[in-house]
Symmetry: C2
């Protein structure tokens, strides 16, 4: 992360804009390199730890655990342990997480509409500066 700071809210508290405040609450929840990937992977039913490790390509075991813990802490995921041997653990998206996923589609639509324009703007900018 985003070297994602964790105090993003401060600035907006400062600017006294409540819309910005809530907006950044979301970002704090969704930021980090892996949160969204995991949210998506769990969007269609319970998933086991190993499945996530395979599905979310490139993630390390450490970051998988850490991100899962954070999502669980925020109530976006539920962790279910089956006391068998070998152990089996499932992660299930909560309703809140599913709603979040819905809301994110508004952003994907924005990206879809403007991705070409943005790429063009970027190219133009980069070319004008050599």
């Amino acid at each position: 992360m985003v070297q994602r700071n964790t105090d993003v809210t401060a600035q907006v508290h400062g600017s006294h804009d409540s819309a910005a405040c809530t907006m950044l609450e979301v970002l704090d929840r969704v930021s980090g390199k892996w949160a969204i990937g995991i949210l998506l992977a769990t969007a269609h039913g319970p998933v086991r730890f190993m499945e996530l490790e395979r599905t979310v390509k490139g993630i390390s075991r450490r970051m998988l655990t850490l991100t899962l813990r954070n999502l669980e802490r925020d109530g976006l995921l539920v962790r279910t342990v089956y006391p068998t041997v070998p152990p089996k653990v499932e992660y299930t998206a909560t309703d809140i997480a599913l709603e979040l996923y819905e809301s994110l589609t508004s952003l994907t639509s924005w990206a879809g509409r403007h991705r070409a324009a943005i790429a063009a703007a970027r190219d133009a900018y980069d070319r004008s500066a050599e």
Copy 2:
């Protein structure tokens, strides 16, 4: 950002989920500690450099410049220089940026609906772990 990585897209290309891909394009655009604050500050008309420095509380001159450059590069802001002395520079949100702002409201609505639940989940989680 967040230590916001810049290669978030890779993971989702990996998982072959186009929704995730576009989703992360947006996050890359909006992530970082200051992008949203600046976007909001420019949402209601052209703003000068100094105004931004005052409005976006806590931002350093360096990060203000860097974030402005990135937003300009992506075509979200237009930079207008008035060759006066002392110099005057205005930053204006483009239509694309304004549309983005609209889309973000879906997320603020989500945060508004669930902020209490999330805070509660977090408290419960933290208490259960001492």
